[in-house]
């Protein structure tokens, strides 16, 4: 009912409270509460099977929560009569009818929400598919389908955008393109929520993180906060006598990992302390370098206890 030209001012966000989805006796999502706020890119990070997609389907009213509630802009999805104007989403880029052209796919979506047909052309230009507007979606590469899905999400010019694993299967150009579009949408003041199991991608795209594993939220905060709270920097040392050095470092309280060629990866001690220990032991160092803690380290630390299928390195008893 918004008259043309009137600008509504609202706080837009996604808000979940005690959201739970159970299949039989297995919890896909277990009592999670979070909010996704405007102006920043919020990453939903977790290993495959952690409950990211289930959560997103519940946000969209596609799956019914076992208990709990989730609202977008203060309203339940099922109460929205023109949802594409409120939240644009891309869940699965392959979920298009292969026989329909890109323009017609967007056209029926536009009609369903009373969006002007001119907008179809606009979003096709935005995502760079204007030249193939009249080609069937079945002839598209995954990257082109991904762009079509993003065009569909942008169609209603919504204040909230949500993408499930948007960079899966994209080439490097496509990844950079998506990363930039996410950031510019957030910079326009929109709420941007994207899921990924790729920590490195999140480190480059997201400002804020919600980390989920086994259906539970195990951390929230800015990328820097999560990294500094959950990962420590490590120092790589090479020397002529790694065995002795290792002994001394462990004695000083370090945790070390032996690598190839006598390389030692040391955490728990600063490079200055390591240097002086080596000096006192009269062991010449050929390399001493510090690696900043990464989101990957933090993520592994966080999910260490919650990963369903953990590799059991060194578990074999030997012969």
């Amino acid at each position: 009912m918004t008259p043309r030209g009137l600008i509504r001012t609202v706080i837009v966000m996604i808000e979940a409270q005690h959201l739970t989805k159970r299949y039989g006796d297995k919890f896909a999502v277990n009592d999670i509460s979070f909010s996704v706020e405007p102006g920043v890119v919020t990453g939903f990070l977790g290993p495959n099977g952690a409950g990211k997609s289930t959560t997103m389907r519940m946000i969209l009213g596609l799956d019914r929560p076992t208990s709990g509630d989730v609202v977008v802009n203060g309203r339940r999805y099922r109460d929205m009569t023109a949802p594409l104007r409120e939240i644009g989403t891309l869940l699965d880029a392959r979920a298009v009818e292969p026989g329909r052209t890109a323009a017609n796919h967007l056209l029926w979506l536009a009609h369903s929400n009373g969006i002007s047909a001119r907008r179809v052309q606009e979003v096709l230009v935005t995502v760079g598919l204007a030249d193939v507007a009249d080609s069937r979606a079945g002839t598209f590469s995954l990257g082109m389908n991904q762009r079509l899905g993003i065009a569909a999400a942008l169609l209603g010019d919504p204040p909230v955008l949500m993408f499930d694993e948007p960079i899966n299967g994209l080439d490097p150009d496509g990844i950079i393109w998506i990363r930039n579009i996410m950031k510019s949408l957030a910079a326009e003041g929109r709420t941007v929520f994207l899921s990924s199991h790729l920590m490195s991608e999140m480190a480059q795209t997201a400002d804020h993180l919600i980390v989920i594993a086994r259906g539970r939220i195990i951390a929230t905060g800015s990328v820097d906060e999560i990294v500094s709270a959950n990962a420590t920097p490590s120092v790589t040392v090479r020397s002529s006598d790694p065995d002795t050095l290792n002994e001394r470092l462990v004695h000083a309280g370090a945790v070390t990992v032996r690598g190839l060629d006598g390389e030692l990866s040391v955490s728990g001690l600063s490079s200055a302390v390591i240097g002086s220990i080596a000096h006192r032991a009269d062991i010449p160092l050929t390399e001493l370098s510090t690696h900043g803690a990464s989101l990957e380290d933090a993520f592994l630390e966080l999910t260490h206890e919650s990963t369903d299928y953990r590799a059991t390195v060194g578990a074999s008893t030997g012969a």
């Binding site: 405007p38 969209l60 596609l62 019914r64 298009v96 329909r100 009609h111 009373g114 804020h208």
Partner: protein, 290 residues
């Protein structure tokens, strides 16, 4: 217009909002006026766009018309050539009207399958989630699909009935066994045959929604429409007349055989099947996860 435009070559992020920016209100910008007819009308328009933008819809229409007319003419021609050899009983039972409307069974099968696929193809491609995310009121989606295909099915079947009826009677005239449009029950057969195609389309949307898999739903539909002889073997004779396949046959019959319902009753029977199917679909679609 006050729509925002995004540029394809998005520059690297300008010094965007951070810190205190996370809580600031956002201006939501309209994409044209929100209200373009009611929500139900928008759903109809969207589903119509979906249907008309698929080549398979138009192939279905073409095949239905061609098959309906083709089989009617074939039926008339073979009756004329075999008339001399037919027994008195066969001649007495011959119904020139229903023999030229044999296409109704094919049209019911063809449009029923199209109706099934409007649901099942979305389930198999995953597009059903795109649809239900765009139109959160799922029952509206089913209502729109069912009524659109029913309307197309009725229109196409009525046209093919007329195009099949007149030339077939022309052929039958050589043996003086034709019926006339003015005969009692003929107009009813032409119209009710088309109505039953529309009703089967509703059954198709219902089955597609309930079963969600194309092969399963089309097999079920085919058995219902043409499997009367197979399923009927297991049933007492009195029950057989109420099978969808028998009822469908009855809608286009003028010379009524003893084991057929009247055309009016037959339509009511098919409508009841459709209502049951549609009600179950309505119940399930809003309860199940998409």
């Amino acid at each position: 217009m006050n729509t925002t435009t995004y540029t394809a070559d998005v520059r690297s992020r300008p010094e965007g909002p951070s810190g205190d920016g996370s809580q600031r209100p956002v201006t939501a910008i309209a994409v044209g006026p929100v209200s373009r007819g009611t929500a139900l009308a928008r759903t109809f328009r969207a589903e119509w766009t979906k249907l008309r933008t698929l080549r398979s819809t138009w192939i279905t229409v073409g095949v239905s018309v061609a098959v309906s007319i083709g089989f009617a003419l074939l039926n008339a021609t073979s009756t004329v050539s075999e008339w001399a050899d037919m027994s008195p009983k066969q001649r007495a039972e011959f119904d020139p009207t229903s023999s030229s409307l044999i296409g109704v069974l094919f049209a019911a099968l063809i449009f029923g399958s199209l109706a099934v696929r409007t649901m099942t193809s979305e389930y198999s491609s995953g597009m059903i989630r795109v649809t239900f995310a765009a139109i959160a009121q799922r029952r509206r989606v089913i209502a729109a699909k069912a009524s659109l295909i029913a309307t197309i099915g009725f229109t196409v079947a009525l046209a093919s009935n007329l195009l099949a009826y007149f030339p077939s009677q022309q052929i039958l005239r050589s043996k003086h066994i034709e019926s006339s449009i003015n005969d009692s029950g003929v107009v009813a057969a032409l119209v009710l045959g088309a109505v039953s195609v529309a009703v089967v389309a509703v059954i198709g949307v219902g089955l597609g929604t309930i079963l969600r898999r194309t092969a399963l739903a089309i097999t079920t539909l085919s058995l219902a429409i043409i499997g009367g002889q197979i399923v009927g073997l297991a049933l007492p004779e009195s029950a057989r007349t109420y099978l969808p396949s028998s009822a469908l046959q009855a809608t286009v019959s003028v010379h009524r055989a003893a084991d057929l319902l009247s055309a009016g009753r037959a339509v009511i029977v098919i409508v009841l099947y459709a209502a049951a199917c549609y009600a179950a679909a309505n119940l399930l679609v809003s309860r199940r996860d998409a």
